[in-house]
Amino acid sequence: MARYLLRRLWYMLITLFIIATVSFFLMKFLPGSPLKADDKLSEEQKTIILEKYGLNDPIPVQYVRYLGNLVQGDLGVSFAFDNTPVTDILTAKIGPSALLGGQALVLGTVVGILLGLIASIYRNGPIDFTSTIIAVLGTSVPSFVFAGLLQYIFAVKWDLLPVALWDGFEYTILPTIALAISPLAVAARFTRTEMIEVLHSHYITTARAKGVSEAGIIFKHGLRNALIPLVTVIGPMAVGLMTGSLVIEKIFAIPGIGEQFVTSVTVNDYPTIMGTTLLFAFGFVIIILIIDLLYGLIDPRIRIAGGNK
């Protein structure tokens, strides 16, 4: 286990290093100058400014300094907001994003698992059919189309909930639902397939034979085993939430990381874009690592198999 953990950490570091390196050199090759009003400055002024930010040093020197700063959590200074460190911008904006993502993840998985569970118990019935349709729609219809639909029906037509912005719980309802639909579909589909397979296995027959109640079979013997593999789809779900957050936050004008990213793209604020990208990459890599470790911990079969190797 320790060896496995070390190996995984090593890979994680390599991945992050590659992403950081690639984004640094991309930054250097991007068109445009970091100076505002480039042509109005005299040569001396330019030199002073470039010197101040260390932009006159040779690229390798800058690269080493960049990596050093990165390790200390310094992502540079935003072009768009004068002299504001990217780290500050991102810390200020991470709250809404995390809240929204967390709510959506909880809502999506809980409702999705319940839906999949009911569908698997009443297999081929009307509930199963409905859940299949929800799963197909949830995986197919992009979250921004879904968000538009919600926004139009609940906010514009019926005036029940606020259209956009971020000012209390009722503002989080629509974006959370829009963001939750994709994890919901994944969880529902996955739980149904796994439950059907588990309910056909021999230990369920054994449990039935020894007289365990139907509820006990479904929850204690069935669901617990069916949910183990669900841990593996948390990774894709997290990626889906990150992708979704970019558009959902834009649509609902939520002051989060995703909305910041889209705004930065439109104003060519490269340091912020790179900082956000690195943050996304970092979050993703960490999540994948946690899932892999968790998976080994939850399922003894995997732990033993890994130990024997």
């Binding site: 890979y11 991309l26 090759f29 219809v141 921004f144 189309v145 139009y152 990626v239 992708t243 890599v285």
Partner: protein, 384 residues
């Protein structure tokens, strides 16, 4: 007693059974190949067949759609901007909303106040605006309400003009732009899927077939690449490349092949260790023939299924990129770019969002259902 009787049965009553070759093992039905089997399963899957027809219809519309009327992709004309959809014949069916009118609910202290607000909104006179009183009101603020229906085509003296899906904020025909956009989205999706297929199958095939050190090196590279979220790579690529169709395809292809290569490698690895490949090797078959005759037919199904799923993935990513402003640049349209414009005008001109969003959703659903159907068809365990 009984036993004795049994022994006294006349031996002539017994006839020797003709000895035949194992009849019970004889196959009575004609044997079907794997491909035929898969096709039969797919044909029985009604949603998948419907999806095929829908996809074909959308592909055909994306080719001939723009030339069905006389408007061009970039014919800007501000005088005819933001016209609602109007379709001949269908304009008489009121609930479809294709009659070329804008309507809304306006509130005021009394009916007259509400009517004035409606007129001010449409900048028109009562000649072209139908007012329907919803609530008389009692003089207090916003107590009266009217439903105003603005006949914008008549007001602009364009009685004989029909914009089937309306016009956008710059007066461009949305029908033309919608199908041009669909074409762009489909081209991106298909090219990206084919690139995924080529790169993924080659990489995975080489890795699985040659094994050993080659496999080891290739897999370590893939392992690192797989750790980088494709969202991050695609966003970075879109930042440095000039926005446009080619960049989107490149950005999608750079990350898309990894999934395919892993599946192909796994399959090839499994197959090359099976007896029939060993037999072929023992008989002195060359590598090329083994790949062509034994490996490729066995992994075709899984490749087709995987490619089918990468198409909707690519459509989604294109729409996503265009939506956040990193994709297609105007005046070109794509489904994502049209939807983005639709969002900006959601409150007043919802039709700008409805049509592209519907086409995108139907396309994604159809491709996903077809992919599911193909997966069932090519999975021998599913055959009944």
């Amino acid at each position: 007693m009984e036993k004795k009787n049994l022994n006294q049965i006349d031996k002539n009553l017994f006839k020797p059974l003709n000895q035949e070759e194992n009849v019970s093992e004889k196959i009575t039905a004609p044997s079907r190949t794997f491909g035929q089997d898969a096709r039969r399963t797919l044909m029985k899957n009604k949603p998948a067949i419907v999806s095929i027809f829908i996809i074909l219809l959308i592909i055909i519309m994306s080719i001939i759609g723009p030339s069905l009327n006389d408007y061009g992709n970039d014919d800007q004309d501000l005088s005819r901007a933001k016209l609602p959809p109007r379709v001949p014949l269908l304009e008489n069916v009121s609930w479809l909303g294709l009659n070329g009118t804008l309507s809304g609910r306006y509130e005021g202290t009394d009916v007259e106040d509400a009517t004035t607000k409606a007129m001010a909104r449409y900048q028109s006179t009562d000649e072209f605006v139908d007012i329907k009183v919803l609530e008389e009101g009692d003089g207090s603020r916003n107590s009266a309400a009217v439903k105003a229906t603005f006949h914008i085509y008549e007001a602009k003296e364009m009685d004989d003009t029909y914009f089937w899906f309306g016009t956008d904020t710059l007066g461009r025909d949305q029908w033309t732009r919608l199908w041009e956009g669909t074409r762009v989205s489909l081209i991106i999706a298909f090219v990206a899927a084919i690139l995924d297929l080529l790169i993924g199958v080659t990489y995975g095939g080489v890795s699985g077939f040659y094994g050993g050190r080659v496999d080891n090196i290739l897999q370590r590279i893939a392992e690192i690449l797989v750790g980088i979220p494709n969202l991050v790579i695609i966003l970075l690529m879109m930042l440095i490349l000039q926005p446009g169709i080619v960049s989107i395809v490149i950005a999608l292809a750079i990350t898309g092949w990894i999934g395919m290569s892993r599946i192909v490698r796994g399959e090839v690895l499994k197959l090359t260790n099976q007896e029939f490949v060993l037999a072929a090797r023992t008989l002195g078959t060359s590598n090329g023939t083994i790949i062509r005759r034994h490996l490729v037919p066995n992994i075709t199904g899984i490749i087709i299924v995987n490619t089918m799923f990468s198409i909707p993935g690519a459509i989604f990513f294109e729409a996503f990129l265009s939506f956040i402003g990193l994709g297609i640049v105007p005046p070109n349209a794509s489904l994502g770019a049209l939807i983005e414009l639709g969002f900006a005008n959601l409150r007043l001109y919802p039709y700008l969002l409805v049509f592209p969003a519907t086409v995108l959703s139907i396309l994604m659903i159809a491709f996903n259902i077809l992919g599911d159907g193909l997966r069932d068809a090519f999975d021998p365990k599913m055959h009944k």
